[in-house]
């Protein structure tokens, strides 16, 4: 099961990141997780949001370069060695990780969002070894038990 990640190009200029969050807030789009990759001149904000298609639309209307990318969110137990085990399996399947970060909607376990060189092979490999991945609704909705 692949999930949609919303990516935005942000120049290193005052107020640009805030403009992204403002736009999403104005349209009641929830950001479940994000990772910000930075270079000296620009940043890439990658997000899992409650409504990726709508998120892309509103950001584009604001003039941003935004796109949707397929990623997978692997569920792993919150204990030593689990991330290592997943990475080892993927490495043995000759896959490379383009980037990864954690998903905040996994309840007491953890989900790792990954962009890999070959997503289909990755899904098959994980499935073969009994790892589950998040569905779209699991990823885009807040499943946490923490109330605040």
């Amino acid at each position: 099961m692949l999930i949609k990640q919303l990516s935005v190009f942000i120049e290193n200029r005052k107020g640009r990141l805030e403009r992204v969050t403002e736009t999403l807030c104005k349209h009641n789009i929830n950001i479940l997780s994000f990772s910000l990759a930075d270079t000296s001149e620009y940043g890439l904000l990658r997000m899992i949001v409650s409504d990726p298609e709508f998120g892309k639309k509103v950001l584009k209307e604001e003039g941003f370069s935004a796109k949707l990318t397929d990623v997978i969110a692997v569920k792993i137990a919150q204990k030593p060695g689990t991330l290592h085990d997943v990475l080892k399996l993927l490495f043995e399947a000759e896959l490379s990780v383009e980037y990864m970060y954690t998903l905040s909607t996994a309840g007491k376990n953890t989900s790792i969002i990954m962009k890999l060189s070959d997503l289909e092979t990755a899904l098959a490999t994980l499935d073969k070894h009994g790892y589950q991945v998040c569905t779209a609704s699991e990823a885009y909705e807040n499943n946490d038990f923490v109330d605040k």
Binding site: F9, E11, Y42, L44, K60, G63, F64, S65, T69
Partner: protein
């Protein structure tokens, strides 16, 4: 010293007669040897016999850079190719370069002109000169090189490249003269200052050109490096460096009128300007064999003064340049047209046609940054892809312009769109 007193100190009448005689011969030659000129004259119902002297010059049509492009590469050459001994090339307004060709005699005249320039700046056979203009298709390096050799000076053909190596040799060899762009010389001065070596050099003269500079820059160069700096002008279409240069009076650049007839015209009406009035500089070559040009529009803005100079020379003087009548930029001595950037980006097909060129001078070196909008269709969620795109654009621009370019990706719609002509260039260098 005055290298060729006979030619540099003629009376204005003698100059007039010499130019008239040479113009007449040249027009006759191009009419019979270059189809382009023959057609242009025929369109005006003219024959070579209609040009009897300088007063008839204005009857002839102008020639432009576009004419050179349309006749690329050798269409305007006036001699069989076997007589051409060298070609040089400079930037064209689009992908194709402007190509120029020289016969052996053209090369001899060129070196004579550069020798006059060097002698005028006080360089002699006893001097050791570093030529730090680029060698190659650019006329700067080889132009100065031949002139300095002809003078009998010891030539060190540095070309462009490692400033550290240049400084080491300058000190080790006891170099007394240097030819380079003024901004590069200031950069050298800065490096010498940083190394605490500014007083451990033996430079006496600098011949600077290939880019516009100011009187203030000249004073800064002279004060910092304790030398005399001279201005040299030229363009490859007419010959290369050495078309004009200034003397110790620094009261304008003497044009070698025995080889080139200068005119100043209003770039809008194309009518001649009065003496002293600023307009576009136009040249007619009267001794060139390979690529003779009639009334070539240089696009450089200046004024002219025909009074005899205090140095003793009678050659007309053109003032420091006031700018251009087109959008050409000179960056580190390299001629750049914004249209070249646009053509290179469009050819790449991976970026939007919206770009902005920002020219700045950092530590006395010109830098060109090209901002390109990241459109959705080539935007990636992976940094390595974006970096790859940046490199690809930088490489394409470097290939097209012959100059290293810093590429910056910017958000869509951040480059100003304007009604009509878009603003494509921001020049932050303070030159005037």
């Amino acid at each position: 010293m005055i290298w060729n007193e006979t030619k540099e100190c003629m009376s204005r009448d003698q100059i007039h007669n010499l130019q008239s005689a040479r113009l007449k011969k040249m027009v006759n030659r191009v009419y019979h040897n270059v189809e382009f000129y023959r057609k242009k004259m025929q369109e005006l119902g003219m024959e070579p016999g209609d040009i009897n002297g300088l007063e008839d010059l204005q009857k002839l049509s102008f020639t432009t850079k576009n004419d050179l492009r349309e006749n690329y590469p050798f269409g305007l050459f006036a001699v069989p190719q076997s007589e051409i001994v060298r070609v040089h090339a400079s930037s064209g307004t689009t992908g194709k370069a402007t190509v120029v060709g020289y016969t052996r005699r053209d090369i001899e005249i060129w070196q004579e002109c550069v020798t006059r320039v060097l002698a005028m700046a006080g360089v002699g056979a006893q001097d050791k000169i570093q030529v730090a203009y680029g060698y190659g298709l650019f006329t700067g390096g080889l132009g100065l090189h031949y002139g300095a050799e002809n003078l009998g000076a010891t030539v060190i053909p540095m070309s462009t490249g490692s400033t550290q190596k240049l400084i080491t040799m300058m000190q080790d060899f006891g170099v007394t003269a240097i030819a380079c762009t003024p901004s590069y010389l200031l950069h050298i001065a800065e490096m010498l200052e940083e190394a605490g070596q500014i007083n451990n050099i033996n430079l006496k003269v600098a011949i600077c050109g290939a880019e516009p500079w100011t009187e203030n820059m000249r004073k800064e160069i002279e004060t910092k490096l304790h030398l005399k700096a001279y201005d040299i002008y030229g363009l490859s279409e007419i010959m290369g460096p050495g078309v004009a240069a200034d003397c110790e009076c620094h009261a304008g650049l003497h044009v070698y009128e025995d080889h080139f007839i200068p005119e100043i015209i209003n770039p809008d009406t194309l009518e001649p300007c009065k003496e002293g009035e600023v307009g576009e500089l136009v040249f007619t070559t009267i001794t060139k064999e390979g690529l003779p040009l009639i009334r070539y529009r240089t696009r450089d803005l200046t004024s002219i003064n025909y009074e005899k100079c205090e140095c003793g020379r009678t050659l007309a003087r053109i003032s420091r340049f006031k700018g251009r009548s087109d959008d050409m930029l000179i960056i580190r001595g390299v001629n750049i047209f914004p249209s070249q950037v646009e053509a290179a980006l469009l050819e790449l097909g991976e970026t939007s046609p919206h770009y902005l060129m920002i020219v700045d001078r950092i530590n006395n070196l010109d830098v060109l940054e090209v901002q390109v909008e990241v459109e959705e269709r080539f935007f990636s969620d992976e940094i390595k892809q974006l970096e790859g795109l940046t490199k690809k654009i930088a490489h394409a621009l470097q290939t097209a312009l012959g100059l290293s370019v810093k590429v910056k990706l910017v958000e869509p719609r951040t480059i100003e769109r304007s009604q009509g002509k878009a603003k494509r260039v921001i020049d932050r260098r303070k030159l005037i």
